[in-house]
Amino acid sequence: MKDVTLKHRRAGFALDAEFDLHGARVTALFGPSGAGKSTIIAAIAGLLRPDRGRITIAGETVFDSQSGISVPPRARRIGVMFQDLRLFPHLSVEANLFYGWRRAASRPPRETADEVVELLGLSQLLKRKPQVLSGGERSRVALGRALLMGPRALLLDEPLASLDAARKAEILPYLERIVRETRIPMLYVSHALDEIARLADHIVLLNHGRVVAEGPVFDVTSRLDLFAGTQLIPGTVLPASVLRHDEALGLSEIVAGGEVLVVPRVAQSPGGEIRIRIDAEDIMLSLSRLDAVSANNVLPAFIADIRESGAHADVQLQVAGARLVARITRRSLQRLGLSPGQPVFAVIKSVTVGGREG
């Protein structure tokens, strides 16, 4: 039986989902708005009682409609970082951070708690009220508050959705550090592939209240069928390792999927593991090897599969040891006469480097 099995029906919406949480890993709950992500989070946190189902978190069943188990939220020890943060406006940053910590039976020692506060860069803000903080600082307080209660699992409900790109870039490294340095299983809800590409090990893709696909992030992102019914833009996430740096040009060579790619200088030293993301819209296809082109990365590939929808076509490419997805227009598809099995060259306009290792 899966860790989470939920059936819930409300006017105009039916949730029927089941998936596993994979121990101490980051599982991304990914899907467009209205797919049922928030309902799942609320049910796991104990804030919504599903019609039927079973929820097992870190080995303990917190809800089971069959045997009548429903642990109240305060006894579940599941930390939640809400999309709207829900900081207590009348309490200082410090009182907010330690609200759960003070009430937790199995809380981390005070020194560890202080380290988390330090790690989140909040040590200087403890006496302030949440409403005088910046958006990014508030997000960090919400994250810290959920962490300090010593949760068995952490639910992050679109933690970056309300932030602009600059604030997002400010928070992501903190999240990555938390993922690296704690062993708390996390369920990360998002409809932004870039966040998931950087953080998640495992993806559960939801659409219309159902699990459409589930699997390791590197497998799921290169599949074509997943994104068909959604408004999401596909993009492939790949593990990579650093080969060497070219200090003169400010570049690094990395190996991903058996091919060498040139990317802007990365922080990791040679041999270091990184993660890259190549968005489907950043890959052009060419029938001949383009030498006179500004893109640094042109890879020989075979077309594995094609899926057409609307004005565009998603083309799955087999490149050495990896699969990539390219999104082109259907007009281009016809003009080039592309079909499965055909050799092409993938002109990669941009590679996003970042996120957790491996």
Partner: protein, 231 residues
């Protein structure tokens, strides 16, 4: 005490303040409980409870004073019982004036506190729940402090209303200088006595100044309370 005010004026002023303060403080815990009941609970007959709590708003104060007199007078069963067993006497005493004021201004406190409880986001309570706080815990660490502006508004409105109370006091506890003669009663007495127009005018001026001071205080305190909860 001398200066600008006469001894009788001081007496009336201090008595008014004492009666209003006692009434407001006495009311507060009950008003909070009633507001919590109305804001958070659903039960059959709620409309009846709601109506009963608001009854003093529409009840003629003189009628209330009469009801209090016939139930708490020293010869009435309840009044006699309180006097014999606890030594509590309301009639012809400032405590009776405070009790009448407390009943009449109870709805003001309940309404203001109820509004501030109802405007609290349910999400905060949910968040506190996931952080391990039970219902009572949340009441004291979340709902009560967040209701502070409402409590303050209710208390100040009720206090101001107490200062103006007349009918119930004069009916229930009479018009005794130094004991039950608050400012409104003193104004009434001055008007009734020949040549008392100046005294009445002075007392009316005191009332107005008191009301103005109350408004300023309410505004400052309200702004501070709202700032403390980030509104």
């Amino acid at each position: 005490m001398g200066g600008i005010l006469t001894a009788a004026e001081w007496q009336a002023l201090l008595l008014s303040l004492r009666v209003a303060l006692a009434a407001v403080v006495f009311d507060l815990p009950f008003a909070f409980a009633a507001a919590l009941l109305l804001a958070r609970c659903r039960f059959p007959g709620k409309w009846l409870v709601d109506g009963f709590i608001h009854l003093p708003l529409v009840l003629p104060p003189v009628a209330l004073g009469y009801l209090l007199l016939i139930s708490l007078g020293t010869r009435a069963p309840l009044g006699a019982f309180l006097l014999a067993n606890f030594g509590i006497r309301f009639v012809f005493s400032w405590t009776g004036a405070a009790l009448a004021s407390a009943i009449l201004t109870f709805p003001f406190q309940v309404r203001a506190i109820r509004l501030s409880l109802e405007s609290q986001e349910a999400g905060l309570s949910e968040a506190a729940g996931t952080l391990g706080a039970g219902p009572l815990d949340r009441l004291f660490t979340l709902h009560l402090p967040l209701a502070a502006p409402g409590i303050l508004a209710g208390v100040i409105t009720a206090f101001a209303a107490c200062l103006g109370e007349f009918g119930a006091i004069i009916t229930f506890v009479s018009n005794i200088p130094g004991e039950t003669r608050t400012i409104p009663l003193a104004i009434y007495t001055a008007i009734q006595s020949p040549g008392g127009e100046t005294a009445a005018a002075r007392l009316a001026a005191i009332s107005i100044l008191l009301a103005l001071a109350g408004l300023v205080l309410a505004d400052t305190a309200g702004r501070r309370a709202r700032a403390s909860i980030g509104r």
